[in-house]
Amino acid sequence: MNPQIPDGLRELLALAAGAGQAPWRTLLRPGDWLLLLCCAALVAASYPLLWRGGVADRAIVKRDGRLVTELALNVARKYEVTGAIGTTVIEVQPGRARVLSDPGPRQYCVQQGWLSRANAVAICAPNHVTLQLAGRGGAHADYDTINY
């Protein structure tokens, strides 16, 4: 067997110690620069994906799974839905929405507070009413409340 250190690793260690080498920039060929620039541009262009994906622009109100109304999230307003056991009040403000009041006994959907991310859901089960936010990216653009 060969007792030597693998030469890849040995070379690496020798070079890490700073053995006399060509300067770094001479190691890049013209195409490398071009490719690096293109890749950097693509990476920079992908950043909006990280932040813009989850913005909600409308609230979807459903009763028994059927669409009742869609409210745009750009004007403040209130909307009343008559459900199985009473009236649920939805409040919309620019960029967010919440269940303001609900006749349900435990008030889970009211206590959830303001929803602002796309696909966030508040479910008022006793009254059979749901409030869901939607963004531009369609139904699967972001985590929803259940999937989070």
Binding site: D7, L9, P30, L35
Partner: protein, 180 residues
């Protein structure tokens, strides 16, 4: 009692096997050492073992590079106890994708494109393969793609650095010892 005749089974070992084993050992050592580095996000790693793969690709061709890369994935995961764990399959998917891209990238004109290009392309293929497998299997939701900018940044950064190190190793006066 019959006396057992001592028999040795000799597997023919070629110089190629020794060479691949030595490079693979270096790659495994680097990938194991790298697991000690803290990472800001699971999956973001320098991928230092790919330096070895790039050097082998440039010196001995794609077949040897594929051997070293895949041996690194299998043996490296055995060493850190991740064999057949999700991380192993992610690493395998990344390695297979980057090997596929390297197979194409080695036909780029060598005067124009050096090891840095190969390294960056392979790094992007690596995260691409990992993200696709993660999306298909581990996180069945498009939410994983929101992390793409972070992974792509890491791929560009570490791909460039690894490529530069590989280029420097290849440009260095050969310290290769004669094969035993």
């Amino acid at each position: 009692m019959p006396i057992m005749t001592p028999s040795t089974i000799e597997l023919p070992v070629t110089a190629d096997d020794y060479r691949i084993a030595r490079y693979a050992a270096a790659a495994i050592a680097l990938s194991v050492a790298e697991t000690a580095l803290p990472s800001p996000l699971p999956g973001i790693k320098p991928g230092l073992a790919n330096i070895i793969v790039l050097v082998v690709l440039a010196r001995y061709g794609w077949r040897d590079a594929a051997w070293v890369s895949l041996l690194r994935v299998v043996a490296g995961s055995l060493v850190v106890g991740q064999f057949l764990a999700p991380g192993f399959f992610l690493a395998l998917a990344g390695a297979l994708c980057s090997l596929a891209v390297l197979a194409a990238a080695q036909h780029l004109p060598p005067r124009v494109f050096g090891p840095v290009s190969a390294s960056v392309l392979a790094a992007f293929a690596h995260i691409g393969g990992q993200l696709l497998l993660a999306r298909a299997w581990l996180v069945p939701h498009d939410g994983v793609f929101y992390l793409l900018p972070l992974f792509a940044t890491a791929a560009l950064l570490f791909g460039s650095i690894n490529g530069l190190v590989a280029a420097r190793l290849l440009a260095a006066p050969s310290t290769e010892s004669p094969t035993p």
